[in-house]
């Protein structure tokens, strides 16, 4: 065993460290899984990252993984315990999307991305908390619980993939899947001090991802470091005949991009991302990170993305419009919660009235309005036109630069309850992340420092569509020449 691993508790290993240990025979998948389950046991009361833990199933999968490894089988994630955001359906395991309306829903099938993890030998620990139907930036919109930020239990982990980010930050999983519609992987990763990758639209199959904004949703990995993100992306990326929007392009080995070399790479710094309202410590940390990349040999160029300020309004028309249709199927007839009223209309009204939380209702109303006769042209159609402008901003920028650097979130983790009654303030936390979804490009958040209160700050690196290798390479070079990713949150209970 190497020096570092001797001192690292098993749940705090990165995926690549654990794979090396499993390969050497230093540990077994069962030991690893038991250790992570023990960590969950120890801290979950306080963190509340999981909506449900499937311990028994996880241990059975771990035994199977050990058996396969003994028989000489190798698979990319054989024996690695992971967590899955609860908007991804899992056959036989309740999937609620953090909503009352799906309480008791046991899907008859498994999402493609999750199935690919399982085929790669991963062990599924359970389903992580989320804002209801991924609508939110703090997990406070979950109908079941609010997840705590492992760095400060009084603060949110970000959202909507806050459960997954907190689980990885607290060693309750070696890695996790989140989903990102407007920043829901990157923002919680930044707020929890871990790595979060939103792949290009179509890179990962959405089959089995319960839709929020269909033209924006992407599944992405949340991990302790960049190499782990590349390892997970290797497994979940690729064409899926069950998703007509998944891209046919072949999947490279993303770990091959992790050369540590950024010499000659051009990094764009968009002026529009450093505006009033951004927490000064965040701006300082991001600027320092960019300077650091420059010192490593990258070329930094100022660029302009002139339609940046329109991204939020456009996002808050398109995502709710799509959601208003996507959420129509929750009608109390075939699955999930049903009010059981006497007649059809009352049952629709009561089921949806009681089953959905306030933020979901707000977005359904907003989206329905934007699509209504007489308003469609002024709202939905106009939003699509501006979306094209935003996409063109990036196309122009990527003719000049290889990646774009920006903050992930304008602030570090905020206090639980601080913004929940102010939807507009909550929405502003997505100000730097929605553009990537609207443009369909890829982006990653890596830790780049801490504020004065010891809360993590994230550096966002954006790349063109299918430019995952470039952003992974830059993120990795940055990470490997800094120590931010090695710091772990002080856990509430002494860790196992």
């Amino acid at each position: 065993m190497t020096e570092s691993q001797t001192h690292t508790p098993l749940p705090d290993l990165t995926i690549h460290q654990a794979l090396a240990g499993l390969e050497r025979g230093d540990l077994t998948a069962v030991e690893l899984t038991q250790a992570v389950l023990a960590r969950i046991q120890a801290v979950e009361d306080q963190i509340q990252a999981y909506l449900r833990v499937t311990a028994e199933q996880a241990l059975a999968q771990a035994e199977e993984a050990d058996r396969r490894r003994q028989q000489g089988e190798r698979a990319p994630l054989l024996g690695i315990p992971l967590a899955i955001k609860d908007v991804l359906v899992t056959e036989g395991v309740e999937t609620t999307c953090g909503s009352k309306i799906l309480q008791g829903f046991i899907p008859p099938y498994t999402a493609t991305a999750v199935a690919r993890l399982e085929e790669a030998g991963a062990i599924l620990l359970g389903k992580t908390n989320t804002d209801e139907f991924a609508m939110g930036s703090s997990t406070e919109n979950s109908a079941y619980q609010t997840t705590r930020n492992p760095w400060d239990l009084e603060r949110v982990p970000g959202g909507s993939s806050g459960g997954s980010a907190a689980a990885v930050a607290a060693g309750e999983a070696l890695g996790a899947l989140g989903t990102d519609t407007g920043g829901s992987v990157r923002q919680p990763a930044a707020l929890c001090g871990v790595v979060g990758l939103k792949p290009s639209y179509g890179r990962v199959s959405r089959y089995g991802l319960v839709a929020y904004g269909s033209s924006l949703d992407q599944i992405g990995p949340i991990t302790q470091d960049v190499r782990d993100a590349a390892l997970l992306l290797n497994v979940i990326a690729g064409h899926d005949p069950l998703d007509g929007t998944s891209l046919p392009e072949p999947v490279p080995d993303y770990t091959a991009a992790l050369t540590g070399e950024v010499k000659g790479l051009r990094i764009g710094l968009p002026e529009e991302y450093f505006v009033a309202g951004i927490q000064p410590e965040v701006e300082a940390a991001v600027r320092a990170a960019v300077a650091h990349l420059e010192s490593l040999g990258a070329e930094v160029l100022p660029i302009s993305l002139p339609n940046t300020d329109k991204a939020l309004p456009v996002y808050y028309l398109i995502a709710p419009a799509e959601a208003s249709a996507n959420l129509a199927r929750y009608d109390g007839i075939r699955f999930g919660y049903s009010a059981g009223a006497e007649n059809l209309f009352d049952n629709y009204r009561l089921t949806r009235g009681q089953g959905f939380g306030p933020e979901v209702k707000r977005r359904i109303m907003l989206g329905t309005y934007a699509l209504s006769a007489g308003y469609y042209d002024a709202y939905y159609l106009k939003a699509q036109q501006v979306r094209t402008l935003i996409r063109e901003d990036f196309q122009r920028a990527f003719q000049q630069v290889d990646v774009i650097a920006a903050p992930t979130s304008p602030t570090t983790a905020f206090r639980i309850g601080e913004k929940i009654d102010d939807p507009l303030a909550m929405i502003l936390t997505d100000i730097f992340t929605t553009s990537a979804n609207l443009a369909g490009i890829c982006a990653i958040s890596v830790p780049c420092g801490f504020d004065s209160q010891g809360l993590p700050i994230g550096l966002q690196l954006l790349g063109p569509a299918l430019g995952e290798e470039a952003i992974l390479r830059v993120a990795h070079a940055y990470e490997q020449s800094t120590d931010w990713h090695k710091r772990r949150a002080q856990l509430p209970t002494s860790a196992s």
Partner: protein
């Protein structure tokens, strides 16, 4: 604007709903009828529109042809069925449509238990096929083009059944590919509507894209009907449209249009106003009944389906599909008339079903195209064979011709036996009956039943003598000048020879005998 052209084929280049008043169907002497038709046709693809479930759901136990996609399960995604897209393009080509370079699926939002996703995936602003036409025949021998506004692809809904205060939902049909064909309001009478639907069904069956079975719901027609005075037409105005649903035969469509036009005309005549409503057809009482009022137009909040990328239809693809188009009925009919000298009536009925045309053409190939031969075959098929199909098959469905044991080549053999005077035409009818039932060769039947024609003069003469001897009274009347009794004697002779006599020879011998009897008597 005054009507300048009659609704003949001449008018087709500038089709419009203002056809000649002279040929116009008028209600209460002055109201024109204006009808647009919406037809939904289930496509005969193996799988459903957006999933891999079998589309052949008829008779299957409820909800047995379902999967996460067509059940609208959370997370499931639609993937467009290429075969359904091709069938729609094929139909568009046959309907003389322009095929869109880019077609976009759209979500049509509304709640109903048989619509699992809460929206129907359809096409709205950018359908696959646009601006086509179908030619129909008019009673005066001319033809008229009914313009096709669009043909697009969508998914069928499930089926809701109401029992004892409960509603049961069967989603086997949900997601079955459905093609919607919409005409311009070019249909000007109940008969034109009937002719249009018949023609459309023929085309769809030729293309093999739809069964045309209205009673099974595989084809559904919804006419929208309005009436107007010639003055309104001149001002370019239309009356208020009423949509009629629940029609399950072409005859019902025809009757519903006639009834509804009459009803609307009477309202206007009495100074009233037609309300924009949906009516249902009451088949039993042959009348339309109010289904629901359309006080406020429903807002379906259509928007482009984000789960399915826009369909790019490139020219090589269209050409490849065009190459699979079969010869269509109008072309076939013209060929039968021009190349084979068929009469129009037979040419028309033979081409009305592709299976009948296929049968006919195979029979012609075996029998020959010498002058008169194809027409003789056509007479046998449209006469005796159709009579047998109707009598022995199930209903008046000519498509049954493909299921009988008799092959077209065998029908050709039968006609050759008649030509070669091996059997007479009456015997041939009997032989045909057995062939249709058993598929045996005609020679074998003739031999087994001893049906070969009697051409032996001695045998025929003996029969004549016997008949004349048995009917002295008729013979006396014949001699007295009642020559029409020849037919009676002929019948008796044929009967004596069990119908197998060579009729020409028998008649000749009989006439000679009677003449000699007369001269000797």
């Amino acid at each position: 604007m005054s009507a300048t052209s009659s609704a003949t084929s001449k008018a087709v280049d500038s089709p419009s709903s203002s056809s000649s008043p002279a040929s116009t169907y008028l209600v209460l002497g002055k109201y024109e009828v204006v009808v647009g038709m919406e037809v939904h046709a289930q496509l005969l693809t193996r799988s459903k529109m957006f999933c891999r479930c079998s589309a052949d759901y008829q008779g299957a136990p409820p909800n047995s042809h379902t999967c996460p996609v067509c059940l609208g399960m959370p997370g499931a995604l639609p993937v467009a069925n290429r075969a359904a897209v091709e069938a729609t393009i094929k139909t568009g080509l046959a309907l003389n449509c322009r095929i869109a370079e880019t077609a976009v699926f759209a979500r049509k939002n509304y709640h109903y238990p048989d619509l699992p996703k809460g929206y129907q995936i359809s096409q709205y602003e950018l359908p696959l096929c646009l601006d086509g036409w179908v030619a129909i025949d008019l009673p005066d021998g001319g033809s008229k083009r009914i313009r096709i506004r669009r043909a697009h692809l969508e998914e069928d809904t499930g089926k809701t059944t109401h029992v004892d205060g409960y509603s049961l939902v069967d989603l086997n049909r949900a997601g079955v590919p459905l093609m919607e064909i919409v005409t311009e309001a070019d249909i000007a009478s109940p008969d034109e509507a009937y002719a249009f639907l018949t023609k459309l069904r023929t085309l769809l069956r030729y293309l093999g894209v739809n069964s045309g079975d209205m009673e099974k719901g595989a084809m559904r027609c919804e006419p929208n009907i309005s009436v107007r005075t010639p003055e309104m037409r001149e001002r370019g105005e239309y009356g208020v449209k009423v949509e009629v649903k629940n029609l399950n035969s072409f005859r019902s469509v025809r009757n519903a249009i006639a009834y509804e036009a009459q009803r609307q005309a009477q309202i206007l005549e009495q100074g009233g106003q037609v309300e924009q409503v949906n009516m249902g057809w009451d088949e039993q009482n042959q009348r339309t009944v109010l289904q629901r009022t359309k006080e406020s137009a429903e807002d379906y909040r259509y928007f482009p389906e984000p789960d399915i990328p826009p369909l790019r239809v490139e020219e090589p693809w269209i050409q490849a599909i065009r190459a699979t188009l079969p010869e269509l009925p109008d072309a076939k009919r013209a060929r039968y008339q021009e190349e084979w000298g068929l009469r129009r009536a037979e040419a028309e009925i033979l081409t009305s079903e592709k299976r009948v045309a296929d049968f006919f053409e195979a029979a012609v190939a075996a029998y020959g195209t010498a002058k008169g031969k194809p027409q003789r075959l056509a007479n046998w098929i449209t006469g005796e064979l159709f009579r047998l199909l109707y009598a022995e098959g199930q209903g008046q469905d000519l498509r049954q011709i493909a299921g009988i044991p008799m092959k077209p080549e065998q029908l050709a053999q039968l006609l050759r036996l008649v030509d070669e005077r091996v059997i007479n035409p009456n015997t041939a009818k009997k032989v045909l009956e057995r062939m249709v039932r058993t598929g045996e060769n005609p020679q074998a039947i003739v031999e087994a039943e001893g049906l070969a024609m009697v051409s032996d003069t001695a045998q025929i003469d003996a029969a004549i003598d016997q008949v004349l001897a048995a009917h002295p009274e008729e013979l006396a009347r014949y001699r007295a000048g009642e020559t029409k009794l020849l037919g009676f004697f002929m019948g008796q002779v044929m009967r004596a020879l069990k119908g197998k006599a060579d009729p020409g020879l028998a008649r000749q011998r009989l006439q000679e005998k009677l003449q000699s009897e007369a001269s000797s008597g």
